[in-house]
């Protein structure tokens, strides 16, 4: 019977078969012995000693750590680069809003019987699109639109799940990845998407900068500012979407905000800001991965914490300099 993987082993009688009456005769004196040798709470705590002292070479010799390193450095470099725009345009929560749109998409997918992944990606794109529209720029700024998008997507998610007969909410995190469980395929996909966005940003660096910094003059100079702004939001949104999928929300958010602020504290030329941000985005990745390994912490949180340490260092340097 090839269908049945386990069937070839002659298994013991089915447990159900031990009808209560027949088995009740058996005495149960083992309770004492059983409990003594299984102190449940403790042995899943500590990391084996050899892991606590693993060398860098050993840690990054592991192939999942290598994948984590590659995906992480890609997200760190490019996320932090884009983060300069995100911070300067005051839309630091754009990643949170997009993640929430993705959740709403999962809920919608469940209700409509679509694949949740499809719903998730679809709604995230809808979110990117909605956020890149210019609503009523005199009265409602983009940061407010992001707040509105976040809270509405959250409410819609809950309402949709309420009418889904078996809403298992753990699916909501469908698109949110974890740096150490990223697959080869996802790593390549993410690097590819980030590379495309990055190349786009390098090619159109001057246009995107001009339009962000001084939209009125740019328009007078002949640029279609609306188009360029949409391209900017769209490209950042796509990069964020892929990053969340590969390394999770926390790390994406942290990478987007912290290195950019650090760089802004120290630099006096926007080109240097971009470069420094990318460097500061990449530095904590290997370090954080290594420390999270030997100290047994969540890698995303560890990297964010290291990034924050760098921020403090940059803050002190900038104080000293002025």
């Amino acid at each position: 019977m090839p269908v049945c993987v386990r069937a070839q082993a002659p298994p013991p009688p089915p447990p159900e078969a031990t009808a209560p009456e027949t088995t009740s005769a058996t005495p149960a004196p083992m309770a004492a012995t059983m409990t003594t040798d299984t102190p449940a709470a403790e042995h899943d705590e500590a990391l084996p000693e050899e892991l606590k002292h693993a060398s860098v070479a050993k840690v990054f010799g592991l192939d999942f750590m290598q994948r984590a390193l590659v995906a992480g450095v890609a997200v760190g470099l490019i996320g932090a680069y884009l983060g300069v725009f995100v911070v300067l345009r005051r839309v630091v929560f754009v990643g949170m809003a997009l993640a929430q749109f993705s959740s709403a998409g999962v809920a919608l997918g469940l209700l409509l019987g679509l694949a949740p992944l499809l719903g998730s990606i679809g709604m995230m794109l809808v979110g990117v699109f909605l956020l890149s529209l210019r609503w009523s720029p005199r009265k409602v700024r983009q940061d407010t639109v992001i707040g509105l998008g976040y809270v509405l997507a959250s409410a819609v998610t809950i309402l949709l799940l309420a009418k889904n007969p078996r809403g298992e909410t753990q699916l909501l995190d469908l698109l949110s990845g974890n740096i150490i469980t990223v697959t080869q395929a996802d790593t390549l996909l993410t690097i590819g998407a980030l590379a495309v966005v990055f190349v786009l940003h390098r090619l159109f660096a001057k246009e995107l900068l001009f339009v962000s910094f001084d939209p009125d003059t740019a328009q007078a100079a002949g640029y279609n500012t609306r188009l360029w702004e949409t391209l900017l939001t769209l490209s950042i949104g796509i990069a964020i979407a892929f990053s969340i999928h590969a390394v999770g929300i926390l790390l994406t958010f942290g990478t987007l905000v912290i290195p950019a602020v650090s760089a802004l504290l120290l630099t006096k030329r926007i080109s240097h800001t971009f470069t420094l941000a990318a460097v500061l985005g990449a530095i904590p990745i290997p370090l954080g991965l290594y420390l999270s390994f030997i100290w047994d912490f969540s890698p995303g949180a560890m990297i964010v914490a290291l990034s924050a340490v760098l921020l403090v260092v940059c803050g002190l340097l900038s104080k000293v300099r002025s």
């Binding site: 386990r6 149960a28 991965l289």
Partner: protein, 277 residues
């Protein structure tokens, strides 16, 4: 030998079988939500070194898929002898009937995954694990078989006690935090009367709460049972409005001072008895 399980319950059952022959580690820590686990590097390493990987299945621990993938441990990949889906032989409850349509959502086709609350299903799980142990570690087959027998015997013995404890309440209803007691209730002839928060994370409506309170009053149901990780705010509300009696039971082995599967079930059974009394 290294054995990794996804939940503390599976770890507890596995320990009964392996005794001191293997180290057993649960990826989800006790008293944490085992539906969502944020993996750490050490988790990947653990899975990578595992000789046996025991999971709940039925979509409860989907987060383990990424870990399995990252570990690249051929011994424990799906289909390998070291991979145990504990739910494989369990008689599944709440499997959506009427086919899989859009409204039910295909991902929930597997049914309710909280089967370990039924001691007899624990035996099925133990059996599933036993098979795998016998496959990956033939040398200690006799010990495993003996431990398995001891486990089933003790379950049988304790079950009698548990059934006796709960016998007076047969047919009585209780209110749960959310839908995780169906196996337990079926086993002990209790009536899962309603839920405080039917879907985790989705706050119930006033109508739902009123309906529940009215039905509780009408049916003279007062017992409210909830796992130890949940917020007590709905239980408090029900207690205020319907005179409910709230019992908090361990959410997982390791919770509320429990150490073994037996202590865990003891605490649960006692909790139910207290609430139903």
């Amino acid at each position: 030998m290294e054995i990794i399980t996804t939940t503390p319950e599976l770890a507890a059952i596995t320990r009964e079988l392996v005794g001191t022959l293997a180290s057993v580690t649960s990826l989800a820590k006790p008293e944490t939500n085992y539906h969502q686990v944020d993996a750490k590097p050490s988790d990947v390493v653990k899975v990578a070194r595992a000789d046996l990987f025991v999971r709940c299945g039925m979509d409860l621990d989907m987060w383990a898929d990424a870990l399995l993938g990252s570990s690249r441990n051929a011994k424990v990949q799906r289909g390998a002898p070291g991979y145990v889906d504990a739910s494989a032989r369990v008689r599944k409850l709440e499997v959506p009937t009427g086919g899989i349509n859009g409204a039910s959502g295909d991902v929930h086709a597997a049914g309710n995954p909280h089967f370990w609350f039924d001691p007899k299903d624990a035996v099925v799980v133990a059996y599933e694990i036993l098979l795998a142990l016998l496959a990956v570690d033939k040398a200690h087959g006799n010990t495993y078989n003996a431990n398995y027998k001891r486990f089933t015997d003790e379950i049988t013995a304790r079950l009698a006690g548990w059934e006796k404890t709960l016998a007076p309440f047969k047919g009585q209803g209780f209110v749960a935090y959310h839908d995780e007691w169906v196996y337990f209730a079926t086993r002990f002839g209790l009536n899962q009367f309603g839920f405080l928060e039917p879907k985790p994370g989705i706050p119930p409506s006033g109508g739902h709460v009123t309906d529940l309170i009215q039905r509780m009053k009408a049916s003279k149901v007062r017992a409210v049972v909830m796992g130890s990780i949940y917020s007590t705010k709905y239980a408090d509300l029900i207690a205020r409005e319907a005179g409910g009696k709230v019992a908090v039971v361990p959410y997982s082995v390791g919770g509320l001072g429990t150490r073994t599967y037996f202590e865990y079930l003891d605490a649960i059974v006692n909790g139910f008895a207290k609430a139903l009394r």
